[in-house]
């Protein structure tokens, strides 16, 4: 039987042709002037996708079809969106002549896994909080989402004719119906002519310095987590011709991040200071505590390199502060000596020095990537938690406490910038024991040799914070324009470093401290320190004197005029 099947259509065509031919001859014979009868079926065009795809359990809405003769198109066929499968919708239309045209659409009900349940993320353009001067126009800087949806902006609450704080709300929904977490931009309408209050100054410092600095830090460090980061590029280049240039790029990236870190060092309070500075220490670890300077432990980091290589479960987030953060990263990126720095009895690194240079670089790189990732995460966390706690921090009912947290933060310049970073190393500050001429072990950033740059960044940030209204506030009780003279003292530090760097760009603090090598040098240093305005050979010691001029005023005039207290021993010791 089967072999006849192919013949069936042939037979049918033959039969139909014979019969039809006969019929045609017959009608022509009836009336040759009549128009030919309409035998053309309507042509149906399916609108929208064909085949169409619909996600399981979602609603299928048919896009329908049209007919070229304008006839009504009916459709048949069901789509069960509860069941994965191919469904057919048939469209048909019949014209007046009774010709029926049909078309079909295939509808595929698919289950593409979890589906698009990811809400879009809104990112604001411009500043948040944003400051607008009284009666100026609020300019909407807009926002974007990561998946390109348009963002709805409700800025109706903003009234720039009132000094107050307003909220602009940003929202977005994607095609899958996922709603983005709304983002709020705080718009502070300020009156520049109004006299400064503790609250206005604190608000300005938080909104215009602290949060933007952490935002900048988060932005700068975010790429560290990605596979395209300069460190990742360096890691992939080890052993290739590009290695040196990629390493240089990774170092430059570190230095650029470090500049921002040094800005944030001047405002370690609020979220950055919670839990004994835990968040801040995860981003950057260098501190003076009980007359000792704590920073990266190179041996602990060496051991961590070995552990991280051996154990793919190694967690930077579980390691201690002295083997992570920008500090450990500096050691791993800038220290060209690949040997470990541990004592001979540290068994974890006993095989290290026998490894090839490439192996050791690769292993260090492995930990560097993890640390970089951790830094990025924590930098983002500080920024996010600061945004979340900003209103609480600026609670007017707590402004006394919070203002002092901010001014206490500036004493970083006394305890760290002056004593630990500069005057301790040159042997002037009591932090450096009497029996030592100098204390190079205190020097910050000794591998990148950016210590002077750091001090400059601290001074610039101190000046910027002071300029945010602390100057006006202080001058309200100062007998003369003390604020200007204080700014002059800070500027003297900044200018001195700029001058030192332009005169001898590569002369780092490490090298300058090394030049104080005898009792005579030490005496010369002391005299340069005592008369910092006079040009001296040991410019670093003159700089020490200039920095002390700032901290002298910080400890007395600053706290007196601003009505705050020295940070140490807040409880005091009354007699």
């Amino acid at each position: 039987m089967n072999r006849f099947y192919p013949l069936l259509p042939v037979l049918m065509v033959a039969v139909l042709t014979a019969c039809g031919g006969g019929g045609g001859g017959a009608s022509a014979s009836i009336d040759p002037y009549q128009p030919p009868a309409d035998t053309t079926a309507p042509v149906i065009t399916v609108t929208g996708d064909n085949p169409a795809t619909v996600e399981i359990n979602s609603t299928y809405t048919d896009a329908e079809a049209t007919s070229d003769g304008g006839e009504t198109v009916s459709s048949s066929g069901e789509v069960d969106t509860g069941t994965v499968g191919e469904y057919t919708i048939t469209y048909s239309a019949t014209d007046a002549a009774g010709n029926t045209g049909t078309a079909t659409r295939i509808v595929n009900v698919v289950d593409s896994g979890p589906g698009d349940t990811v809400a879009p993320v809104i990112t604001l353009n411009g500043d948040n909080p944003q400051t607008v001067e009284l009666n100026d126009t609020y300019t909407e800087a807009g926002a974007t989402t990561d998946t390109g949806e348009s963002v709805s902006i409700d800025s109706s609450a903003v009234d720039t004719s009132i000094v107050s704080s307003f909220e602009v709300i940003y929202s977005a929904v994607d095609d899958a119906g996922n709603t983005a977490t709304p983002v709020v931009r705080v718009v502070n309408v300020v009156d520049p002519s109004a006299s400064a209050t503790k609250l206005s100054v604190l608000t300005a410092v938080v909104d215009e310095i602290v949060i933007p600095n952490y935002k900048q830090l988060a932005t700068q460090t975010a790429p560290l987590a990605g596979s395209n980061s300069p460190i990742a590029a360096y890691c992939s280049s080890i052993g290739t011709d590009d290695e040196a240039s990629k390493l240089e790029a990774a170092r430059e990236d570190w230095k650029s991040i470090m500049k921002t870190v040094q800005k944030t060092e001047m405002h370690i309070f609020g979220q950055a200071a919670l839990n004994n500075l835990s968040l801040r220490n995860r981003v950057y670890f260098y501190q003076e505590k009980d007359r000792l300077v704590e920073t990266v432990s190179t041996c602990a980091t060496d051991v961590a390199v070995v552990n991280a290589w051996a154990d793919n479960q190694y967690l930077v987030s579980a390691s201690s502060a002295n083997q992570r953060s920008m500090s450990a990263l500096e050691y791993l990126l800038f220290n060209d000596n690949l040997d470990h720095t541990c004592a001979a009895n540290v068994s974890a690194v006993s095989d290290w020095n026998a490894l090839s240079d490439t192996d050791r670089k690769v292993r260090r790189c492995g930990l560097s990537l993890q640390i970089a990732n951790d830094v990025a995460m924590n930098a983002e966390q500080i920024h996010a938690t600061w945004l979340g706690s900003r209103d609480n921090f600026l609670d007017p009912n707590e402004v006394g406490t919070r203002f002092e947290l901010m001014t206490d933060g500036l004493f970083y310049f006394e305890k760290h910038t002056k004593s630990a970073k500069l005057n301790g190393p040159i042997g002037i500050d009591v932090l450096c024991p009497d029996e030592q001429l100098t204390c190079p072990e205190f020097i910050e950033s000794p591998f990148s040799e950016t210590s002077l740059q750091n001090i400059k960044a601290n001074a610039e940030q101190l000046l910027e914070i002071f300029d945010k209204g602390l100057d006006d506030l202080a001058n309200e009780s100062a007998p003369d324009d003390w604020s200007s003279s204080f700014k002059g003292l800070i500027s003297a530090v900044i200018n001195k470093i700029a001058m030192m760097q332009s005169a001898a760009p590569n002369d780092s603090l490490v090298q300058q401290v090394a030049r104080i090598s005898s009792a005579n040098d030490s005496a010369a240093c002391q005299s340069a320190f005592d008369s910092p305005e006079v040009d001296a050979d040991l410019t670093i010691c003159s700089l020490g004197g200039l920095v002390k001029n700032v901290t002298d005023d910080l400890k007395i005039e600053f706290i007196t005029y601003l009505g705050v207290d020295l940070p140490e021993g807040a409880g005091g010791d009354t007699d």
Binding site: K198, F269, G270, A273, L274, N275, F393, D395, P396, N397, E398, V399, G400, T401, R402, F403, E404, L405, S419, N423, I428, D429, V430, S477, P479, D530, K548, D552, K555, I556, E557, T560, Y561, D565, L566, G569, A570, G571, G572, D573, T574, D575
Partner: protein
Amino acid sequence: MLGEIPIKQLKNALGCLSLAASSLIIAADLSDAQIKEVLIIGTKEEKQNLSGSGFQISNADLGKHGYTDLNQIVSSVPGVYVREEDGFGLRPNIGIRGATSDRSQKITIMEDGVLIAPAPYSAPAAYYITNPSRLYALEVLKGPSAIQSGPHTVGGTINLVTRPVPKEDVAELDLIAGSDGYKKIAGTVGYNFDSVGILLEGFRYGSDGFKELDSGEDTGFVRNDINVKLRWVPQSELPQTLMIKAGFADEDADETYLGLTDSDFSENPHRRYPASQLDRFQSEHKQLHMHHSVALSSDMDLKTKIYYNEYHRSWNKFDGFMDGPKAQDVLAEPTAYTSAYRVLQGLQDSNVGDFTDLTIDVTDNDREYTSHGIQFNINKRFALVGLDHTLKVGIRYHEDDVRRRHQTRSYLMRSGAMLSDGLARPFKTNNYAHTKAYALSISDDITWSDWTLNLGVRHEDIEGSVNNKLLDVITENSQSITAPGLGLHRQLTEKMSLLAGVYVGFSPSGPGKSGAESEESINIEYGVRYDDGQFSGEIIAFESDYDNLLGRCRASDSDCQVGQEFSGGNVEVSGVEVFGQFQRSLSGGVILASQLNYTFSESKFKGAFFSQFSQWGLVEKGDELPYIPRHAGRWQVGLETDIWAIDVALKYQHGMREVPGSGQIADDLHTDSLTTLDASLTWFVNEQMDLRVLTRNLTDETAIVSHRPYGARPNFPRTLMAQMKYRF
């Protein structure tokens, strides 16, 4: 109080009301040989020609108001400033002519001519002072004569004279009961065996306290004091006396430094915040003094004193927050420190994990002191080229020390109660300070006709050391000071005399401190005295120029150049002291007596400077000093017969600046002006018994007497007391 004196003498003393500084009247009870040897001003004759201002308060006057508060007692002396603290005067703050009143540390405090502050050189703050109940008389020495005693001569000296061994046997009971559970029980027994006399005194006094903790606990104190005095007058060729005095005193007080916000003060000045609930002061004092005096000839005598004092105190007290704002800032501006303010009141729990923990710091300022020494005073009277000389030479070797262990403990406020957080905290202060001092003073009163010229000089060699056990650093210093003085007295008429004097005052810097931190002053005084037997008075102008008040560079500054910032610390204090008293017999055996004193003071800093001393801070040229009242005065009037006595005292102290300033006092932190009225009514029932009703602050005036250390503190409220004295 007066019981050991034979009743006849008592009546005599009361009869003439023995008002202070009247040399005629005080002679009645200060001429006793035994008293003489512990006086530093001396007797009638000696005081009459005193070229400086000296002041004496007799036993009778002390008894009048049943005072147990030294602050109250010294307020009747012109030129003396008092800053109240706890109300009971347990740890008085007394200053003289501009010397700071802070814990009486810039004046020399003596008991029977012996240094009595716990460690007058190493730690001069007077946490111990002789219980006022033991006082028999009181001397205040100002002006050039102040250089005879030291070491602190910028202001002057207060000498607390204790009750002598009575010549006749006596037994006395003194009972007082009063408001707020005030009670005192005192017993005195004096007995003589031939050449040996003994005096045994014991007393206990205390109060439940007038302040109110929200929890209702006591805020008062209890003090015990037991003393024995032995006097031996041997039958020897040279007349001599040996006196040995031994004493023990202790105290247990629920005392705090925490005050109130001004607004809480206006609602209830006696409230105490729950954050002070653990505060407690405990102390023990032991002393052994030996006094020997011998008349080497009719015109020369020698007094020798050997003394040993031991004092231990422990003061657990609220000292702010471990992590949080300063308590004084919170109390000054509570709306800017809402959480901290609520934690102080127990309305909110300490908030561990927030930006500030608000864990409460309770620090035990534990200190042990010893002070001992030997001193010789030789008085020699002689004539030389037609001039009468009275030469006084004093030599003293003194050592004292203080061991400080200030241990912090931390507490969490939880539903109004304070719970330890169990964390080990380091010492705030852990040190040992020691001082050795040799002192020599020479003074010569040269009398010619009606002129008396006093020339004097004081020299001290002081060696101090501090072992800072926190840093393991020992610092040492030595000071050598020679300070001269000159006084002139002229008897114009029998009743009127003129006096003038100038001297260099000095207050040594503490052990281990830079010598530049010692205070020096040039003090000038001049005035007129009048005494016609019925009325006496004096008007004295004074001016003190201080150098080197605490300057900029402090020990806490690790790297400052010694001496670089001291130029601003010059201060000028000047004023006028007026004193007058009179008495008159009215009909019916009634005696009317009245006494008035008034002190006008003005002060100014002579340069701008900064100090981390919290009372000063930013000082501008021309600013007035804190805690010196512009006007202070007291007026007392009494009527008395053999059967009854009534006595009223009105006291006024002008509001004081608490920070330097030059504008209206009200614009800055300041204390309130305060006028109080004290009154007493006595019935001399019979020879055995006196009954007395006393009130202090009869009109119940309320004022902020200080905002330091932490917040507003009240004065003593209206208190009613009933007293019975019985002599067996």
